[in-house]
């Protein structure tokens, strides 16, 4: 099979299309997914091809259509709910936390909620404070749901299928700067799991742990570090809940140094959780303090230079790594 050149956006689109064509229980609903073709053009053309029953435009009612997704899932469907961005998901937080995450346990196992919610996330396009959040770490705090962050083309193409097969509510966070990313889809990968972290670059001097939109900045930082003879091992978490701590710990046991890169605000972020897990499970492997590169604790500003200064960058990631490798 020859490799295919494809965008991350197209991978998402093909995943949705394939799911709907192969399983009559699957349908997609959300704002502007139909006639508009999707805020990020992910679902362009799908309404025409698949029909109004399977691609449903909803009114601006996050709480109602997320709750409806939950109810439909409880009644036997496999809905994909698209919340335009994670910024709007706050309006549906009650449904996600108090219903989706809670009903299976609270009902004593009588009802499952096999629901997938997809959201765009992240910053970098000067969309300002109310449109630039990274809340996947927040959601990863909640027991009863799964939280995914596909960064690669293969994950964008195949994670949805695994998420739909999972009997639990699964939230998929697609970083908006990745939609345009183009590359070759590995044809040998036909399915992926939604629980493991993957080593994207091998190295023995320091571990860089990250996920989602920050992956490529981290790989760029690793390339820069290699120029200075520092070989970084880059881990793509892929799943934020559950966290594959074992993969991280195995890497830290080898490199003994780690920096966590997370686009959320530093305080109480998922980077804090990962750091603590490393302390709990690999304390005696550490040869240096654990480092973090996160977003500055500010509402994301509009001006380009301010926004870029607030976000993790390859330069700041590399600098954090260098400071831990020590004045050699």
């Amino acid at each position: 099979m020859t490799p295919v050149r494809i965008t991350y956006r197209e991978c998402c689109r093909q995943a949705i299309r394939e799911a709907i064509l192969t399983d009559p229980r699957v349908f997609l609903m959300g704002e502007d997914v139909g006639r508009y073709g999707g805020c990020y053009a992910v679902t362009k053309g799908l309404l025409e091809e698949l029909g109004e029953d399977r691609i449903r435009d909803t009114p601006l009612s996050e709480s109602a259509f997320v709750g409806a997704g939950i109810g439909a899932a409880m009644a036997g469907m496999r809905p994909i709910v698209e919340i335009m961005t994670c910024n709007f998901s706050l309006l549906a937080l009650d449904q996600i936390l108090n219903n989706a995450a809670t009903i299976p346990h609270m009902s004593g196992g009588q009802f499952a909620v096999p629901l997938v919610i997809r959201m765009a996330t992240g910053a970098g396009r000067q969309l300002a404070a109310q449109h630039s959040h990274s809340l996947e770490g927040w959601y990863a705090h909640i027991p009863g749901i799964k939280v995914l962050a596909p960064a690669t083309l293969e994950d964008a193409r195949h994670m949805l299928k695994a998420a739909l097969a999972d009997p639990n509510p699964v939230l998929i966070f697609e970083h908006m700067v990745l939609y345009n990313m183009e590359g070759e889809l590995d044809p040998t990968i036909e399915a992926v799991d939604i629980a493991s972290a993957k080593v994207r670059r091998r190295g023995q001097d320091i571990t860089l742990v990250t996920y989602g939109g920050s992956l490529f900045k981290t790989l760029d930082a690793a390339a820069a570090l290699a120029q200075d003879g520092i070989e970084a091992e880059v881990i793509d978490l892929r799943s934020l809940r559950p966290l594959d701590v074992a993969t991280v710990v195995a890497s830290v046991a080898k490199t003994r140094r780690v920096v966590i890169v997370d686009e959320g605000w530093k305080s109480g972020s998922i980077s804090a959780e990962i750091g603590m897990r490393i302390v709990e499970e690999a304390f005696f492997e550490l040869d240096a303090p654990i480092g973090r590169v996160c977003s500055a604790e500010v509402p994301m500003p509009y001006a380009a230079h301010l926004e870029q200064a607030a976000l993790p960058q390859p330069a700041t990631i590399a600098a954090a790594a260098r400071s831990l490798v020590g004045p050699a």
């Binding site: 009114p59 709750g67 409806a68 004593g108 196992g109 799964k146």
Partner: protein, 327 residues
């Protein structure tokens, strides 16, 4: 033409169902004060006609979504008192293994989708269940119960709009008992005529005397017929009153005692029982037999709960994540 078939058997059935709910709630009231039931307890005394009347119009394949004041719906839907009482005792034998308590009754077999502690939280769920049922062509409808307080939450408006936009088979049953916890209707609603809000979404609606079980059943049958004919959702504003406080720990500073007494005099059981007696449709020994049977049923439920067992602590994390969708 929707008619309620008031033969002798049905009359006794309606009366007994309301008495079952009332006696169960009275027992809960007592047990809570004896610290057997804990947490929050919201009793249904006075509202029995709403649940009982509406349930007559539902079929087993239909779904029910209710609120934290859901004992009436649960009992009228057929969930055994034993399972309910054991649930409130926090026992593994409860309908939810003791996980939910009074506010979170679920029953898969009877399509009872909770018990919800968030006011308005069940409405989107009900819309979704109806959507899922319709997409799978089950021919069923979803009865969604909520209080008049819920009409102030955004979810109410979002859900009604979406339900009628997509012509979903939802019976929106508003139990207007005049008080949202301590907030009297007129102090919270710019438009206190609740059913008019449904009209804004072009949903056919009715105001029903919620203290008259026959009127409720008749209205419910009209609603259900309309929904099953494919006309989309229907809205019933059932005007009723709760005789007890909002929950157990409530000094009821917000309403006068004589108002409560006045409503008690025209309560659903008093009215129906009185009407039956006046019209010689009920014999004294039949009533006594009902009371004896209900008392025994309630006692058995308490005994079942008393002898229940706690869920082992080792199972605490079970069902946080499901291994499979239950068949």
């Amino acid at each position: 033409m929707t008619k309620v078939h008031l033969d002798h058997a049905h009359n006794l059935h309606l009366l007994k169902e309301m008495i079952r709910i009332r006696r169960f709630e009275e027992k809960c009231f007592e047990l809570y004060q004896a610290q057997k039931i804990r947490g929050f307890l919201h009793l249904y005394d006075g509202e029995e006609a709403v649940s009982v009347g509406i349930m007559q119009a539902l079929a087993p394949q239909d779904a029910v979504v209710a609120t934290y004041r859901e004992h009436g719906q649960a009992i009228a839907r057929g969930i055994p008192m034993t399972a309910l009482m054991a649930e409130m005792y926090g026992r593994r034998e409860g309908c939810c293994r003791g996980r939910g308590g009074s506010m979170h009754i679920f029953d898969r077999e009877r399509r009872f989708y909770g018990g919800n502690a968030i006011v308005g939280g069940g409405l989107p769920l009900a819309v979704g269940v109806a959507l899922g049922d319709r997409m799978q062509e089950r021919g069923s409808l979803t009865a969604c119960f909520f209080g008049e307080g819920a009409v102030d939450e955004g979810e109410f408006h979002e859900s009604l709009n979406l339900a009628n936009l997509w012509r979903l088979p939802v019976l929106f049953a508003c139990e207007n008992n005049l008080y949202a916890m301590g907030m009297r209707l007129e102090r919270a609603e710019a438009e206190p005529d609740i059913h008019k809000k449904a009209e804004c979404y072009r949903i056919p609606s009715e105001v029903v005397d919620g203290m008259d079980v026959v009127a409720v059943e008749a209205a419910a049958r009209r609603a259900v017929d309309s929904i099953r004919a494919g006309n989309g959702p229907y809205f019933l504003e059932c005007r009723t009153y709760r005789f007890r406080a909002h929950s157990m720990f409530d000094a009821q500073l917000y309403r006068p005692k004589d108002e409560i007494e006045e409503w008690k005099r025209k309560g659903p059981i008093v009215r129906f029982q009185g009407w039956l007696s006046e019209n010689a449709l009920l014999h004294a020994d039949e009533l006594e037999r009902i009371e004896v049977e209900v008392a025994a049923e309630v006692d058995a439920a308490v005994a079942f709960a008393e002898s229940g067992t706690p869920e082992p602590v080792e199972e605490l994390e079970r069902f946080v994540l499901m291994d499979a969708v239950p068949a």
